[in-house]
Every structure is written in structure tokens, then in C-alpha cells.
């Protein structure tokens, strides 16, 4: 055991300096001096993380401005780089936050990427590419992705069924695009509708009871 002569305490562990006053310790007794607290490596170092995030964001701005010199766009490099940085961090944040429930993560991604597409379409002068192609395709692939993913990671029915249902219901959204005539080609939206209908019928047929149990539990007043 070591001793701090300034604080007058015996110190356990391999410290060279006093954990309290940071002055040098003196070797004291022969008694075992193992620290009861093992050295646990840092999970992350906040200072380093912030440094890297700043650097990466600066890099994105630099790349976008350089590309803007060769490929001029109607949006201007500033807005594009801002959009790029924002969507990058939004998607990264969703993946990190929702990493423990893949089904929920997919629902969040459908909503956020769809909104990003609509925003970009709007900024670029609205040519309806987001409602014609992007959102229906996102919805179709999300339903398929979720259907496969929950099988690969062996999720319990109760844990994903409400999210699968939400994703399926979101797949009906392109019907409104068809209704208000926001599409330039109807096929992707129709396909999304068809997929959602099939999936919805399958879910109700196979898991109707599970949905009721989950809803009862989660919406209890």
C-alpha cells in the first residue's frame, strides 16, 4: 500500500500520485495494495469524438464545394453540403439510437428518409420524383427488409409485430399520392399498395391475436 503524506491517507492500487491531491505517493506497508477498481478502458473520449465529427463535417463541405465547381447544381453547394451533413448525422443517429430494435429502426428510417427526399425534391423545384419513385420504393424495400431481418436476428413476435404493422400501413401512404395525382408514373405507388395489402392480410391472418395483446399491453390506461 502507498501513502500520501499530504492527505495522510493510505492508497490502494498502482497509483504513482495521490488520486486526491495529485502529489507523489510514498511506498508504505507490505500489505497487498491491489486496487478494488479494475482499469476499465474508456468507451470513448468525448474530446476526440467531437474533434472527429468536426473534421468530417468540414471534409464534406470541402468535397461538395470542389464538386460544385465541376458539376453546377440549382441548389448551390452550401445547401447541398448542409443537406448532406444533416442527413448523414440523422441516419447515423437513428441507427445508433435504435440499434437494439431493428424493426423500430426500420420504421424510423422509412419516415426520416422519405421526409428528406420530399424536402430535397421541394428544394430542387418539385419534379415529383420523391412521390413517384423514392417513397414507394423506400416503403416496398422496408417491408421486405423487415420481413427478412426479424427472421435473421430471431426477434420475438411481440417485439416486432407492431412495427411491421406500422411499416405496412406506411406502405399505403403512396395511395394518397395517386389520389392527389402527385406522381408522374403510377406503377411504383401501385406496387407499394399491392405489397402492403398482401403483407397486411398476412399479418392479420397470422398474428392478429399478438397485435391485440401487444396493443392491450402498450395502450393500457
Amino acid at each position: 500500500m502507498k501513502r500520501c503524506t499530504h492527505c495522510q491517507v493510505s492508497v490502494k492500487g498502482d497509483w504513482d500520485r495521490c488520486p486526491l491531491c495529485h502529489q507523489e505517493l510514498k511506498a508504505d506497508s507490505k500489505v497487498d495494495s491491489m486496487s478494488p477498481y479494475p482499469d476499465i478502458p474508456l468507451r470513448f473520449d468525448k474530446k476526440k469524438v467531437i474533434q472527429r465529427l468536426m473534421l468530417l463535417s468540414l471534409l464534406i463541405i470541402l468535397v461538395v464545394f470542389t464538386l460544385g465547381l465541376f458539376f453546377p447544381s440549382p441548389l448551390g453547394p452550401l445547401r447541398i453540403s448542409l443537406f448532406g451533413i444533416m442527413s448523414l448525422w440523422l441516419v447515423a443517429l437513428i441507427i445508433i439510437r435504435k440499434r437494439r430494435n431493428i424493426a423500430k429502426g426500420i420504421v424510423y428510417l422509412i419516415v426520416s428518409t422519405s421526409l428528406l427526399c420530399v424536402y430535397l425534391d421541394y428544394m430542387a423545384g418539385w419534379s415529383a420524383w420523391s412521390t413517384t419513385y423514392a417513397i414507394p420504393i423506400i416503403c416496398i424495400s422496408a417491408i421486405i427488409a423487415m420481413f427478412i431481418a426479424v427472421r435473421i436476428v430471431h426477434l420475438k413476435v411481440g417485439d416486432y409485430i407492431l412495427y411491421l404493422l406500422t411499416a405496412t400501413l406506411l406502405g399505403f401512404l403512396p395511395a394518397t399520392f395517386l389520389f392527389f395525382n402527385w406522381t408522374t408514373w403510377a406503377f411504383p405507388a401501385q406496387l407499394s399498395l399491392l405489397m402492403s395489402m398482401l403483407m397486411f392480410a398476412w399479418i392479420i391472418w397470422r398474428h392478429g391475436k399478438d397485435i391485440l395483446t401487444e396493443l392491450q399491453k402498450r395502450a393500457q390506461i
Partner: protein, 473 residues
Amino acid sequence: MGVKQVKQKEQPKQKEWVRLDNASNIFLAAMSTTDTKVFRLSAEMQDKIDPISLQKALEQTYARYKLYHSVLRRGIFWYYLQHTEIIPKVAPEVLAPCSQLYHFDQKELLFRVIYNQNRVHLEVFHVLSDGTGALWFFEDLIKEYILLRYPESLDEIKKEQIEAKVRHLEDSFVTYFRHNGQQSFTESAQSALRNFARTSKRAAFKYGKKFGRALLTDRTVPTKKRRVYRIKGEKTADNRTKVIELEMPVKKILHLAHQEEATLTIYLIALFFESIRKSKSDFQIRDTIAISVPVNLRQFYPSNSARNFFSTVKLEYTYTQERDPQLKEICVSLAKQMSQQLSKESLERRLSRLISYEYNPINRVIPRPIKDGVLKIINYSNNRNLTVAMSNLGRVAFPQSIDGYVNRLYFHTSAVRPQFSVISHGDQLTISFTSPFIDTDIQQQFVRELTSAGVEVTLAANKTQADELRGDF
């Protein structure tokens, strides 16, 4: 036990979830990556821990404590505790003390049992239980472990049993482990307040009616404008809790407390206040230091619930310009506030406020995210009026035959502000400081106050910075 389990299986599907009580919701609202709302109870044993015996002991204890078979889930209106069949596994200590136990979207047990060298740690998420409730589980875990690890202790117990029989006393083996009589998951997971309101003579509706009045009258009395000092500092690199742990003989420190005519808790709080005043350069005269101290309600209202059943008292001291106060003056002021807040009327008021909040009908229909938001605001404003916190679990004794196998007990909690936790066993007292900050100036002052008064202190600390872990310290 076996028969009971079979019986349960035969019954139609039981309700396997319990809505989380309002009082526990505050922990979820206040939880952050810095303050994980996890607390740790540790026991230092005679020898290196045997993981196999510990695992067996854990499984046996776990089987008796149904409350611990819980995972926390989120609903639209409520959080709820759901029964789980997950078997807990003991693990070597590879995470920082009081690391997060509950992650949204993950089904995990709300406690963990870990070991390192000759220490066993139980870490519990505060939503599940409070210090006293967790101590019951921990004591039984340690007893089971000792019986498995040191079979000779069993002979001692048998001897005690025979002696007890000779003296026509109750069978000591029956009283050896805690029997709380709560068999089903829903019963053990039920809020302590609901249990209390149900079993006591007061009807629940009485509190429901009282709520409106409580809401109007339970305003804090406006006091003179005063500035509550708040400690600021640089946080640790990965938000882990900084722990400074002190071991000392209990007799010496009790003597010091008695010299000031104070209880141990009051004396330590006063010493902590003085350490803050002396060590913090931005502390100004006329500043107030306020501390929050949890009070175990089981000592006033009998309850065998292991769920949260405590209230907090807030003690404060305002420094005046004239002169530096004597420690005794601070002790007297603190003790007076403590006894006022623990008076029968004050406790009754607290309890009815807690119960009325639990039964408040408006609460039921507000969606959970909104409730979370409101609680976050309440928590934020509460924090603004607090400088520090402390918690004292008191003296813990095991049955005589096994008491000797345990050296010391330790207790600490994750912290949003510097705080200290106290527990004692035998003739050893341990005080563990936890803080989100890397600075140790207050702790240094506190230790120096003790050592200069002649207390022999042994210190241990965890490493929180890259340079400390590299060995540059």
C-alpha cells in the same frame, strides 16, 4: 417451491406485467448517460470470489425474488415491468461502476451481479428498487454464497439451531432468509405505495380526492431570496462515474460525531458542507448549500415491499458574512431541519402527496412521452436547488455464524452532482464519493478534515481519464 411452480403453470395465462408507479417514473426522466440511476452494493469477502458458487447463489436467490424477474418496457401511456424468464449470469467486472442497466428497446434484467478479486457487487436500476429493498436481495445473495463457498458455515448454523431449540426459540433456520410472502410476479412488482394504500385503513379514493387540494397547497413556502451554490466542473472522458472510496474504523468517527453532539449522518453532512466551502474558490459568502437525503419510509410505515418506498428531505445551510461557523452550529441547524421534516405531520403529508400522485386520475390518460417531458422539467428545476446529495444505509449485520466471512460492505450510486453514500459492517465504516466530475478537491478537503482529526483512512479510486489509464498518474 417446486409444487408452487407447477401450480402456477396449471393456471390460465397470468397477467405478467405491472404498470410502473409514478414515483419510479422520475428515475426514467432523470436518467442520462452521466447519471444512469444505477446504484451498487458491494461486499468484500475473505477470499477471492468463486464464480461458480456465486452463480449458484444468484440462481437460488433470484428464484425467491420475483420482482427481480423484470424487464422494463415502454407503452403509449405507461412504462411497465414485464415478467421475464431470463436467467441472470454473474460476470467479471468489465464495465465502469454503475454502468447503464436499462436501454430503451432492449429487454434486459434491471440488475447485475459482478465480481472482482474478493468483492461481489450487486448493481440495481433505481426504477426496480431502492437501497433498502436491494439490500434484502444482496444480503440473501451473500448468505447463499457463503453457505455454498464455505460449507463448514452450515455446521455453525446447525449449532445455532440446536441452541435455539434448547432455548425454545423459533427455528432459526426458518428466519435465516427473508420471507416476504409475495409469491407472484405481479404482487412483488406492485408499487409500494399502492400496496401500502391497499393494506392500510385509508381508502385509496380519499387520496384521489385529496389530490386537487395537495396540488394547490403543496407549494413550497417562498423563502428569502438566496443563491443555492451549484458545483460545476469538467466531466469524465466517457461520462463514467468517478468513485473515491474511503474505509475507516466506525468507532473513531462516531466519537467525532458525538463530540459535536450530532448523529453520524448529520456530522458527515456538516463536514461535507464545510469541505465544499473551503475547497471551492467560486463559493461566495451568503451562498446556500443544499443537500438531498433519502429517508426510508419503511421505518415509519411497515411495508415488506421491495419496490421504491422512500421520500427525500432537503437540508440546507446558508453561510453568513460575519464569521466562519463552528461545525457544531451547522450540525444543530441540520438536525433541527431533519427532525422538523421527519415529524409525524410532515411525514403524513409527504406520504399522502406521494399516494395522491399515484392515484391521480389525470395522470392515467396523459401519453407517456408528455409525462416524461413534464417530469424532466420538474427534475431540472429540483436539481437547480440542490448542491449535493448523500445516502446512508446504516449498519448491516449478517447472522453471527457467517458474519465473519464478510470483511467490509460498500455502497455507492451514479451521480449527477457530487454525492456520498455510507454503509457500515462490523467495526468498519465506508464512505464512497461519486461524482460526474474529474475534480477531487472537495473529497480531498473532506479526507484531510478526517485525517487531521486522527481518523485512519484508506482510500481507493477508479480511473476515469486517458492519462490515468495509461499509467501517467
